[in-house]
Structures are given as C-alpha cells and as structure tokens.
C-alpha cells in the first residue's frame, strides 16, 4: 500500500517544491526579522498546510475536479463579486474576503478554477468541429473573471489570464493564423481597454514606459528595486547582509518584492539557482504532461505551468525593469498563505495527473 503510494509520487516535482519553499522561508526571515510578526513561522505553517493538500489531492483525483470544474468556476465568480461588494479594503484594493479568522483571496482560486474549466471545455471538443464557437466560448470564459479581477483593482493578477488562454488555445489546436491575428487584435484593442484602468494602474504602465515621469511614486520603487538586485553583483552581499531591501527602500520586501532580497544577498548566483529550481519544476510538469494520455489532463497541466511561469516572469522581470510593477507574488517564495495554498492545490492536481497517467 505504502509502496504503491510512494511509487505514485513524482519526486522531481516534490524536490522542486521543497527547495523553493525552503528558499522562500529563508528569505522571508532575512527580509522581515526586524519587523514584528514572525513571518517565517507563519509561512512555515502555510507551507505545512500547502504540502498536506498537495499530497491529498491525488486521493480525490483530478477527474473529480475537471467534472465539477464549471461549478467551481461559478463559485469563484460569485466570490469575486462578493469581494467587490463586501471585501476588505487593503492597500487600496479589494482583494480579500474574511471567513471567520481566515482571509482568502478569491482571485487566486479564480485562476485555478478558470484553468480547470478551460481545460475541461476545450478538452471536450475537437478543434475541427465548430472551431469558431469554441474559441469564442473560451475567450468569454476567460474574460469574465479577468474583468472582475481588474475591477478590484488587481491588474497584475488579471493579466495572468491572458497567457493561460493563449497557451491552452495553442495546445488545443487553434489555427496558427487565428492565434497570430488574435495577438494583433489584442495589440489594437489595448488602447480601448485603457479606459477601464484605474488612475494608478495607468500611471504604473506610463511610468514603466518612462520612469522619469514619476520620481515620487512607482518610479521610486522601480529604481530602488533595481538598485537592490543590481548591487548584489555576481556573488551577492551575503545572507542577511542586504542593505537596500533591509532598509525599507524597497516596499513589500517579504511579499511581492522578495526577489530583491534574494538578488541582493545571493547575487547572480542565487538568482540562477532560483531560476534553475523553477526550470526543474517546469521540467517536472513537462514530464507529467508528456506521459499522460488524457488530453484534458495535458491541457490542465499546461495551464498550471503557464500560470506559474507567467508569475515568475512578471515578478522577477519587474524587479529589474523588464516588466511594469505589478502586485504579484513569486510562487512558493513570497510570503502569503493564499498564494501558497492555491499553487499547492494546482501542483496537487498535477501529481494526480501523474498518478493516473495510464488508465489502461
């Protein structure tokens, strides 16, 4: 029994997860040991919960989730509407709901349920039947939660839906010229979406394009985080020896900007190590994806992979000025229970895909 369980585990996935969370807790400690709150212990607690869920997911099996994906999707939309109405206002944005002593961030769960629903929807139809309708349906399914999250306002999280949609459509078999015209259409439509953005979101984008514009606000954050990462150099300043991120020049240094701490204290070597670990995680997911015969499971795994990748890319990219400043956590590394648990659920699904890779 136990042997069977062990056999079903996917070790590269587990190793990557463990290493990333350990790195996260280490740098949460380094960045916040001066502040009250024992953030590293709280993160340890969340990691425990996350891992427990991860190992339990195969018991339910990803098929259960796929078959109830539309229901989960509907629930997450209701939750999003609820934050809109009753959510706590934190840092000027409505992103949390309190349930008893817990606060949850519905956008995290909306991401996952949208991936599930899209995988289920696209996986149930072949690309040669009624292609146009399916594509339009998939676009609509993505746009609804995306719009609600953008309204919260949480531009960063809402933009994560774009790579999910693009990747899943690509893998599903959309005609290349459709995909290419969609990209062009998106570029054309972007100015129209502009009007839906909040003032500060517009500012962030403008500042990204021209950092000179706003020396006081996000331009300051942008340059300070760049200094923090850059000053780490090749070798880094040593663990807990960072000065930029430690001295509060960089805001949110244990959550969204935790990479600044790592980049400053462990330098380029540390950054390469982190990227290598993410690469290893992606490699593990690719393995799972290749070995399953279930097309829906392939799509599901690919969707999970693309969410995690997009978050990593935007988060690290923003600290070195390659991406605009967006409030996105670095998966498994940033402090935060909601993010950790929801990624654990996602990887738990992948683990379940691995376990049920062959049903013959």
């Amino acid at each position: 029994m136990f042997k069977k369980w062990l056999k079903d585990l996917h070790w590269p996935l587990i190793i990557a997860m463990l290493a990333l969370s350990a790195l996260g807790i280490l740098f949460i400690y380094s960045s916040s040991y001066r502040d009250p709150g024992e953030f590293q212990l709280r993160q340890l607690f969340w990691a425990g919960i996350g891992f427990a869920i991860f190992f339990l997911m195969p018991l339910l099996g990803y098929r259960t989730f796929l078959s109830s994906s539309y229901l989960l999707y509907a629930i997450s939309l209701v939750l999003l509407l609820w934050v809109d109405i009753a959510g706590h206002t934190r840092l000027g944005a409505q992103r949390w709901i309190g349930i008893g002593p817990f606060v949850i961030q519905p956008s995290e769960f909306a991401k996952l349920s949208t991936v599930l629903a899209l995988a289920n929807f696209l996986g149930s139809h072949h690309s040669w039947e009624k292609e146009n309708r399916i594509i339009l349906g998939a676009i609509a399914m993505t746009m609804v939660p995306m719009f609600l999250i953008m309204k919260q306002p949480d531009l960063g999280s809402s933009l994560l839906f774009v790579p999910i949609l693009v990747v899943l459509l690509l893998l599903w078999g959309i005609r290349y010229r459709y995909l290419i015209s969609a990209v062009i259409l998106g570029a054309v439509a972007a100015p129209f979406l502009w009007v839906f953005l909040k003032e500060y979101q517009k500012k962030r984008i403008l500042v990204f394009l021209n950092p000179q514009m706003d020396p006081l606000g996000s331009g300051y954050t942008a340059i300070q985080s760049k200094i923090a990462v850059g000053s780490g150099g090749f070798w880094g300043k040593g663990f807990m020896q960072g000065t930029q991120s430690q001295l509060n020049f960089v805001p949110e240094h244990h959550t969204d900007f935790i990479f600044c701490v790592l980049g400053e204290e462990w330098g380029f070597l540390g950054a390469v190590l982190l990227l290598f670990l993410y690469g290893y995680l992606f490699h593990a997911l690719f393995q799972i994806l290749t070995h399953t015969t279930d097309f829906k499971a392939k799509l599901l795994t690919a969707g999970i992979l693309s969410v995690i990748f997009a978050q990593v890319f935007i988060n690290i990219g923003m600290t070195i000025g390659m991406m605009p400043i967006a409030g996105l956590p670095l998966p498994f590394v940033s402090y935060g229970g909601s993010s950790f648990v929801s990624i654990s659920i996602a990887l738990g699904l992948a683990l379940s895909v691995h376990k049920e890779r062959s049903i013959f």
């Binding site: 990747v167 006081l216 923090a228 930029q244 509060n248 392939k298 990219g317």
Partner: protein
C-alpha cells in the same frame, strides 16, 4: 509539435530572465553597487504652491510667501552637527534630537528642524556649512493672508496635515505628503482640492557625503487653482472699521447676482497665526478667548431676531386673512392677553395710539403685533418662517452653517414635554421666545422680500451659481409683500421711523430694525433692509451683539456701508 513550441517558449522565457539578471547584476553590478552603497539615490518631494484667493476686484486675500526652512538629513550628520546647530539655533541638543525623530516620508528625506527661520539665520547657516554636515536651508512656500483679520472668517485658514488625515490620503501621494498642509476652515477647507496643486519631486544622485551630483529625474509641481470670492475688499474693510470694537456680523448681498459683497464678523482672527510656526501662543489664545473670535457670527451662530421678525408675523397674518391693509389696533403702551394677565409693554411707554400695519412696521409697535399674534397660532407663524428660509440651512460656501431654531408646538412637546401656551405665541410674534436666526438667514429673508418673493441663494464664490432652480418663488401674494415694503420704506424715510438714522441722501432705503432682548445683558441690535427702495440693488443685514437699540447701533453702520457702496458702484460707474 505544439507542445514542443510551448516547451521551447518556457525555457526561452527563463533564458531571457537570466540574461536580464546577468545584465543588471554582473555587467551593471558595480554601478548599482555604488548607488546602493550609501543609498545614493534620494528623493526630494517638492510641495505645490497653493492657489491664491482674490476678492471681486482682483485684490489678494490669500497668497504664499517664500520661507526658509532649516532641514537636516540625519544620515549625513557627523559628530559636530548637533552641538553646532544647538549653538546657532539656541536650542538644547536634546530638543534637536527630538525634532530629528519626527516621521519622514522617505528614507534619507531631510527632517525639518526649524521652519521659517529668518534670512540672517539662513545666511549664517550657509556660512557655517563645513561644520554643519547634513544641514541645509530649503526654500518653501508659506501661506500668507495679507489682509489679516479682514475677511478671515470667509477665507478660513490651513494647517499641517495630521496623522489620521495623512493615512487617509495615502493613496494620493501626488497631492498629500507627510508635511503637507490642508484647509481647516472656510474657503480654504471647502475648496481644498482646487486650491491644492499637484506635488512634484526630484530624484537626485548624491555622493558619499550627501552632496548632489546630478538630477536623475524631476517633475515640477503644479500650482493649485486660483480662486475669486465675491467679497469686495474695500467695502469689507470699511465695515470692519465701522464695527469698531463692537462684536457682530455685517453682510451685504448683490441682488442681481446673489453674490455677497460683504460678510464680516467680529471679533475676527488673523489667519496668519495659524500658518506661522512661531505663533503657537496666539493660536491658543484664540481658542481660549471667551469672545470666540473663530466663530463666524453671521453663519455659524443664531440669535433672537426681535422686531426684525415682525415682517414674517405680518405676512402670516395677511396671508391667512387675519388682518388686511386697513386693519388698525390701538396701542396704549401695554397689552393684556386676558384681563388678569400681567401686562406686556410696548417699547414706547406712552403708546402709539391707533396704528395701521404701515405704522406698526414703521414704529415697530409691539402692541399691534401682540394683537396680531393673538389671532395666529404658533404653527402658522412657524410655517411662514420656514417659507422664508428661517430654520433652514443656507447652502453657502462656508463651514459650520447654523440652521437656527424655529419652534412650533410639536417641537415644544418633544423638547419640554409641555404644550405651547398662547402667551408664548405673543412673544414669538415679536421675534422672541425660543426663536433663533442667523444673520445670514435674516439677510436671505430680506433679499426674498426685496425680490418680490423670488427665492435667493447667497454665494461667496464667483460663478458658483449654476445649479440654481430657475425662478423658484416663495408661496406668498405679491400685494402682501408690497404692504410690507411700503412699511419698510417708512422705517427709514418717515420722521417717526425707527431706522431714520440710516437715511442716506442719494436714494430711498427700505429696512426694519430690531432690538432683541438678550437678558441678562444688553439687547442685540439688528437692522436689515435693501437699497434703493424702488429698484433694489443690494440687501444688507447688520447685527451687533449686545449693541442695544437696533435703530441706533446698527443704523450708523448701515449708513456708512451704503455710502461706501454708492461711491464704488454708482458714482464710479456713472
């Protein structure tokens, strides 16, 4: 195939990140290292100059002047800084250390040690720069009110933002900073968002000693919008002079535009004391002063109107057919409600004899209005008061607007659990009992009468009169207003009139005086009216707190004010 494209895309993305990091950390690493060394990038917020306030003639009421602030960047100090600074400023070292602990908006932002230092001190500090590492003199804009106490209640004042307000406005970094000011009263408070501009800032690179090497990026602050109020400064000054050391409120309204030309209240305060960092003791004195100089007596306070209110009583009686233009009552100098009740006196002990409504207004006969009051109920008088805006907030660009108090039987029941007595109706009819009105409400009532029943909404800011309900009328017959107006002309123009001291030689005036009992002190003196009587251009209300007789204390102010108005608005135009 598609899965291979996807896989390649992901690894390519990681490759891009890695090369970006290589560029930032390895190639540019040493550059960022120097920048980060002692945090070489600093942020200097630049406060926006606040918009100025002008009077209707374009004279300055509020502006900004340059001030020198002595600031210190604690990270740049050396051992000598604090002792030397203590010597120069004549402060204890402990005090300076205390001031350096104040919260700062950004890391390495300079802390303000002393605001608005003298020029001499500023130069002295510049001379001693070598031994004062980290000390700087920054030029900032300080609010300045060149007219001092004149118009201070209208303009209001500003103050330093407090912690709570700062936290509330934190998302709006472009407008509010840790050291920003915010409107605290009057126009400064109500139009704060217009007057306040947009902050700018400079990101500078400094060397290891904290000296600027170059500006990395800069955004100029955008000054706030200038505003024009409807006051006429020279008229307002004249009125302040006429009030002398008496307390009270004087207002004058342009009837065509419904703009207030004068809105003066005494005692007044000097708003400069609220912005000058060194005037803490004066500020405290204002707050503790029993005469409450911060109170705008015209807007925020309410008093018994006395005989001025007889206008409303007369209208109520006319409109309910209790009296008509030919009604007469006999005044023997006193009046008894029933044969057994204590007699109420007319102010003229010998009695006015048989009086008509016109004479009753002209001579302000109490007995006539006691007779009228007996025919009316308190609720009827109350109803007509509300029709003319008494007991109602006057929507005007001011803070703490008083609604006054217009009683009725239901109010009394609720307040005192007692029924309304007819004796109280008699007092109510001559503007006493529980009735309280603000001078602004009396002014509006007068203006409505002058405009034959057209509704009036006084304003203090130009061009604010946009969303007015067009031609809203008070529900009253014009002929009754004509009766009132005829009586009001006699108040000033007749030799029996109570307001004849206000008479001017360039036209006929219509007015009503009031002497409101305010025991145990001397009565309040009122006079309200409009000019010229045949084609009203302005309405005015003068209220002198404990000024005695309305026909004496207030009439002189009315006359002086109108003479000045005539000089500026009639003679100069002609």
């Amino acid at each position: 195939m598609r899965f291979i494209i996807f896989r390649i895309g992901i690894y390519l993305g990681l490759g891009i990140l890695m090369s970006g990091l290589f560029y930032t950390q390895v190639i540019q690493g040493s550059y960022y290292h120097t920048l980060g060394d002692k945090n070489r990038i600093r942020l200097i917020p630049l406060e926006a100059p606040r918009g100025r306030v002008f009077d209707r003639q374009g004279k300055l009421l509020a502006t900004n002047r340059a001030a020198y602030d002595l600031v210190v960047t604690p990270e740049d100090m050396d051992k000598e800084t604090i002792p030397s600074l203590a010597r120069i400023l004549d402060l204890s070292e402990k005090e300076i250390r205390e001031r350096l602990k104040a919260p700062r908006e950004y890391p390495f932002a300079p802390a303000v040690v002393q605001e608005d230092v003298t020029r001499e001190l500023a130069f002295l500090v510049e001379e001693h720069r070598p031994e004062l590492s980290g000390v700087e003199i920054l030029v900032s804009g300080l609010r300045n009110y060149p007219q001092g106490t004149t118009g201070s209640h209208v303009i209001g004042f500003i103050g330093k933002i407090n912690r709570e307000e700062y936290l509330k406005t934190r998302d709006n970094q472009d407008q509010f900073g840790l050291n920003s000011t915010i409107g605290r009263a009057g126009i400064e408070k109500l139009f704060d968002s217009e007057l306040r501009g947009w902050r700018g800032g400079k990101q500078i690179e400094v060397n290891s000693r904290g000296k600027m090497i170059r500006v990395l990026s800069e955004r100029d602050p955008e000054p706030g919008r200038d505003m024009t109020v409807t006051l006429d400064l020279s008229l307002q000054q004249k009125v302040m002079e006429l009030l002398g050391d008496k307390n009270g409120s004087v207002m004058m309204l342009d009837l065509a535009t419904e703009e207030l030309l004068v809105m003066a209240s005494k005692p007044a305060f000097d708003p400069n004391f609220f912005v000058s960092p060194s005037a803490a003791s004066e500020r405290l004195a204002y707050l503790n002063d029993k005469a409450s100089p911060l109170l705008d007596r015209g807007v925020s306070s309410a008093y018994p109107p006395g005989s001025v209110f007889k206008l409303i009583t007369a209208l109520a009686a006319l409109d309910t057919d209790k009296i008509n233009a030919n009604s007469h009552f006999f005044c023997s100098g006193q009046y008894r409600l029933t044969p057994n009740s204590i007699p109420r006196k007319c102010w003229f002990a010998r009695g006015h004899g048989s009086v008509s409504i016109y004479q009753a207004i002209e001579r302000s006969c109490n007995v006539f209005f006691y007779n009228v009051g007996k025919k009316l109920s308190a609720d009827q008088i109350s109803d007509y008061s509300h029709r003319f805006g008494l007991g109602e907030i006057v929507p005007i660009e001011a803070t703490n607007i008083s609604a006054g108090l217009v009683p009725n039987s239901a109010w009394k029941k609720k307040q005192f659990k007692e029924k309304w007595y007819q004796g109280e109706t008699l007092s109510f009819a001559i503007g006493q009992s529980y009735l309280l009105t603000s001078p602004l409400q009396i002014l509006r009532m007068t203006a409505i009468i002058a405009k034959d029943g057209l509704w009036v909404e006084p304003h203090l800011v130009r061009n604010a009169k946009e969303k007015r309900i067009p031609d809203r009328r008070v529900d009253i017959k014009k002929e009754y207003l004509q009766i009132l107006k005829k009586g009001m002309i006699q108040v000033v123009q007749s030799n029996y009139g109570t307001g004849q001291l206000a008479r001017v030689d360039f036209g006929e005036m219509a007015a009503k005086t009031g002497t409101a009992q305010a025991p145990p002190k001397v009565a309040h003196a009122w006079m309200t009216g409009y000019f010229p009587a045949d084609d009203p251009k302005v309405a005015f209300t003068v209220f002198v707190e404990h000024g005695g007789s309305g026909g004496i204390a207030s009439a002189g102010i009315v006359k002086g004010m109108l003479q000045q108005w005539e000089e500026t608005y009639v003679q100069k135009v002609a």
